[in-house]
């Protein structure tokens, strides 16, 4: 019997779920975009706030399915805040759409429920539940009807692509889980390292099972060679959906992967670290190389996210080599940094775009610096952060990865990181270069005039920029927080 005390740690999850229900009822009573938006934003804000309050003292397994500790709460907070930001800047994006647009907020809320379950999961059942809740909502968000040829070119193609590949990935994960269940007889994450060889199948099956689960997760994280869906889905979706997929979606998956690997001690099987190292190297090289020739900012961000997830895997591999080292903190910090900077980049793209017309060609940004210096400065800062230049949070994140790599003497992976970042500089700087070039006079690109409805978006962009610089210059508070939270993994 679940008592009230057991439910208390679930408060953030319950608040977000309730928000979804209330928003749905509100939409049923009266369709109002601004009302459903406000409800969702307030609900997410409240959930983030409550989770933050609970952070210092909650450490509890709630039902066998969910673990609510500092680590999961930290990422609950980040998921809620990030979703809230996306909800804020999807308002000006959708507000001119001549169709039912209120449901987009429902989908954001639902996806966040999935994300919270994922970051709190240490059981295969909750893994699947969270993952599917998130993915199902994303299908809807990606295929959201926009009716304009100038925006998402191929939302249906993107959605079907994502649906099929994501379902295939889920199958891999489920099959892997089944094999692991055959070994251990339990669905919760337990160590596979010290299994009694008398029971279950042989070790080879465990390795296959782990590889299957890892493959599925690598699909969701868009790691090479499982990355083929990424650029098309990024390009084809409405911007807020892309932003959600790229930030909250990947972060929740990465946290889940980390907890899975740590609890099952999967990396102690020789083949798994090798597989992850290979995936990391291919992701870094392929992601950066393919981004070089792209002209579409969404596609560039897609390829750059592949590379960033590759950098992240370096710390994942390191977490096995040096146990109790800095690697878990490195992963956590890098995730936070990644969310801040990609969300920043997407928020700027979406504030100049709308559901009628998306501005995502690199050439469209020529002269942005002289047209609206603040917006351009922030976009440049986000890009430099993605490139890992100091004064930004991206540099501290990369520093963490370097540290984790050095601590575990992963020289080959570090070499890949250096080469990859070197290539990466080129395409980030190319965008920066275009932004600071003089305005083109002959063909005016119509940047929408910012109306009153984008005020809150500018506030969000300013906040993200502030966080980007603050965490890049004075990261100590976050470092301390992550240090204590990471001890729970």
């Amino acid at each position: 019997m679940i008592s009230f005390d057991d439910l208390l740690p679930l408060l953030p999850l319950l608040i977000v779920s309730l928000t979804v229900v209330i928003t749905m009822i509100a939409i049923g009573i009266r369709r109002s975009f601004i009302l459903s938006g406000t409800l969702t934003i307030l609900g997410l804000l409240l959930a983030a706030f409550v989770a933050m309050l609970m952070l210092p003292w909650t450490d509890q397994q709630v039902t066998p399915l969910l673990i609510i500790d500092q680590y999961s709460l930290l990422f609950t907070v980040i998921s809620c805040v990030a979703s809230m930001f996306i909800a804020v800047f999807s308002f000006p994006y959708f507000c001119k759409l001549d169709d039912n647009k209120e449901e987009f907020y429902l989908l954001i809320g639902l996806a966040t429920v999935g994300a919270i379950v994922m970051v709190s999961s240490n059981h295969f059942v909750s893994t699947v539940l969270g993952l599917e809740t998130l993915s199902m909502s994303l299908y809807g968000m990606i295929a959201y009807p926009l009716h304009s040829k100038d925006t998402a070119n191929y939302p249906l193609e993107a959605s079907v692509k994502y649906l099929i590949l994501s379902a295939a990935a889920s199958c891999f994960i489920l099959f892997g889980m089944a094999l692991i269940y055959a070994q251990t007889g339990t669905l919760s994450f337990t160590s596979l390292a010290a299994l009694d060889p008398e029971f279950g199948l042989s070790e080879g099956y465990t390795v296959v099972a782990l590889l299957l689960v890892s493959t599925g997760m690598a699909f969701k994280l868009s790691l090479a060679p499982f990355h083929l869906w990424t650029p098309d889905v990024y390009e084809g979706s409405p911007l807020p959906a892309t932003a959600y997929l790229a930030t909250v979606g990947k972060m929740a998956m990465a946290v889940l992967l980390l907890r899975f690997l740590a609890s099952t001690e999967a990396l102690s099987f020789g083949a798994i670290p090798i597989a992850f190292s290979l995936i990391a190297i291919t992701s870094i090289i392929i992601g950066n190389l393919l981004a070089l020739l792209q002209e579409n900012l969404k596609r560039i961000l897609a390829y750059s996210s592949i590379a960033h997830m590759g950098y992240l895997l370096i710390a994942v591999v390191a977490s096995y080599v040096t146990i109790g080292g800095i690697s878990v903190e490195a992963i956590s910090f890098y995730l936070v940094a990644y969310v801040v900077m990609s969300l920043g980049a997407f928020s700027i793209l979406s504030v100049v775009s709308s559901s009628e017309h998306e501005i995502n060609q690199v050439a469209d940004y020529q002269g942005l610096f002289w047209r609206s210096p603040w917006l351009a400065t922030m976009l440049i800062a986000m890009l430099l952060s993605l490139a890992g230049i100091p004064l930004t949070v991206g540099f501290i994140g990369k520093f963490y990865i370097f540290f984790a790599g050095v601590e575990s003497s992963l020289w080959v992976l570090l070499a890949a990181l250096v080469i990859g970042s070197g290539i990466g500089l080129y395409y980030y700087l190319r965008i920066v270069y275009i932004i600071i070039q003089p305005l083109r006079t002959q063909d005016k690109i119509n940047f929408p005039v910012a109306g009153i409805e984008s005020l809150s978006s500018y506030f969000v962009i300013g906040l993200l920029f502030f966080m980007l610089i603050l965490l890049g210059v004075y990261p100590s508070p976050l470092v301390t927080l992550i240090e204590s939270a990471s001890s729970f993994i």
Partner: protein, 504 residues
């Protein structure tokens, strides 16, 4: 505190300069000038400070990221003070050279200029290696923007090349820095990026060599030394004049400073092993780039290659690692800072007037711009190492010190002085002597130097003559620093031989 104010004056000055553009496009340069003058005043204050314990004139130490043992640790000794003085002085010159040349987006230009200088001063004072790396990278972005926005015809390529070369080599240095901190953790049980702490770390040799190499590549790219120099001619020729002045005068010196401050003291044994190779590389840089300079028709590229050649003397002096050669290296850094900056200003001035850098189109300018010709003559002669001017003192001391250590490299490098005379006089002949033809440039375009420009050149001439005739004040400032550096590396080497002796 004084060090913090040195950096923050420039940071704040840059912000104010940017903001003041919205009032009037002429204000930013005035703001920048005022900021630099205040900066110079603070530098003078710093020079008046007495050296405290350990030779540090001023220092500030505050925790920054305790998790990694990173602190905000700035300190300056004689060596840093000399470099800071050079930076502030050339900052003034750079503002002067941009005064009339930069007419578009002035606010953002001076913002970038001042922030570059702030980053450089941070590099010269940071004694926490993380902080050092932080400033090392911070000075890149504004420099990139200066080249990319106000550069010449091929600026995109040049700016990108500059950034990627320095950033990638910087990442190798970051790995080396992190390894040092981690080795400190293994040996003493806590992470530290503090220079003084890291001096105590003892690293076994094959590893020490690799870490040293990481630092060396980072610094040699900035210096630049031959295999890593490809970015420099492009960056120099495409940058606006003020950018070239800062690049040649100050940014290159950060590489040499890093070698003196970090590479050799932190890795004395590996550096001793590496010294013959580094000195060979230096000699090769000197001769090869002098030869390549001779083949250029673009006047800025020519000066850029001569910079690489002259910086070869600095590398040579540093790796000889005795008092004379180090003194020589430091004087060469200062003197080359002035002479190269002046030559770039002259080349930039020419380009501003006649819109070309191609020397084949020039000739006979002496008639119409006699002051400019004489000034160019002066700085060319300074660059080729005429006794009585600063460059001679520096290069002579380097050769004197290096001769005791590595005869072959020194003898080879000495030929660089001959090549230097050839290319310097070649420039004078090509540009100022010979017949003048009206058909190519109207005489009216070829204005002579005006008073403002003459004032800046006079300042630099004064500096070079001072260093040439009475270098003692400069030597005195650097002397205690070098003595302690030499002593610490010798004791480390001694300890190493003792332990290996005990092992036998």
């Amino acid at each position: 505190m004084i060090l913090l104010s040195l950096i923050s004056i420039l940071f704040v000055g840059g912000l104010i300069a940017w903001a003041s553009e919205s009032v009037d496009a002429n204000y930013p340069r005035v703001v920048a000038l005022i900021a630099i003058i205040i900066e110079l005043a603070v530098v003078v204050l710093l020079l008046l400070n007495d050296a405290g314990e350990g030779g540090w004139v001023a220092s500030i130490d505050a925790p920054w990221i305790p998790r990694f043992g990173i602190s905000f640790y700035l300190a300056a000794d004689g060596l840093s003070v000399l470099m800071i003085a050079l930076t502030a002085f050339l900052g003034l010159i750079a503002v002067g050279s941009a005064w009339a040349e930069i007419t578009e987006r002035t606010g953002f230009f001076y913002f970038n200029l001042l922030w570059t200088l702030a980053g450089v001063i941070g590099v010269f004072t940071a004694l926490d290696l993380f902080l050092f790396f932080f400033f090392w990278e911070v000075m890149l972005i504004p420099m990139y923007l200066i080249i990319a926005i106000w550069g010449h015809e091929n600026k995109s390529y040049a700016a990108m090349k500059f950034f990627i070369f320095t950033q990638v080599s910087g990442m190798l240095m970051l790995i080396a820095i992190v390894m040092m901190a981690y080795l400190h953790y293994i040996e003493f049980g806590e992470l530290s990026f503090n220079y003084q702490d890291l001096l105590n770390v003892s690293v076994a040799n094959p590893l020490q060599f690799w870490i040293m190499l990481g630092f060396f590549i980072g610094f040699a790219t900035k210096l630049p030394s031959v295999p890593f120099h490809a970015w420099l001619p492009d960056a120099h020729s495409q940058a606006p004049t003020a950018g070239s002045v800062i690049l040649a005068g100050v940014l290159l010196k950060t590489g040499a400073y890093g070698l003196i401050r970090f590479v050799i003291p932190l890795f004395p044994e590996a550096s001793t092993q590496f010294a013959p190779f580094a000195m060979g590389l230096a000699a090769f840089s000197i001769l090869y780039c002098a030869k390549v300079a001779f083949a250029q028709s673009d006047i800025k590229r020519l000066i850029a290659y001569t910079s690489v050649s002259h910086m070869g003397f600095v590398t040579l002096g540093i790796y000889a690692w005795n008092e004379q050669s180090l003194q020589g290296a430091i004087i060469t850094m200062l003197a080359h800072g002035l002479s190269a900056a002046a030559l770039f200003m002259l080349a930039g001035g020419l380009q501003h007037r006649i819109h070309t850098r191609n020397m084949n189109e020039m000739g006979g300018f002496w008639v119409h711009a006699p002051r400019m010709a004489v000034v160019t003559m002066f700085f060319s002669i300074a660059a080729l190492g005429m006794p009585g001017l600063g460059n001679f003192v520096g290069e002579f001391l380097v050769l004197l010190g290096a001769f005791q250590v590595n005869t072959y490299a020194t003898v080879a490098s000495a030929f660089g002085l001959i090549l230097a005379s050839v290319y310097s006089l070649w420039v004078i002949q090509k540009v100022f002597q010979g017949g003048y033809s009206d058909s190519r440039f109207e005489v009216s375009k070829l204005r002579d130097l005006d008073r403002r420009e003459m004032f800046y050149f006079a300042l630099m001439m004064f500096g070079l003559i001072w260093m040439g005739l009475y270098p003692q004040p400069f030597l005195n400032l650097a002397e205690p620093v070098l003595a302690s550096l030499l002593a610490s590396t010798q004791s480390a080497a001694m300890a190493a031989t003792l332990t290996t002796g005990a092992g036998l």
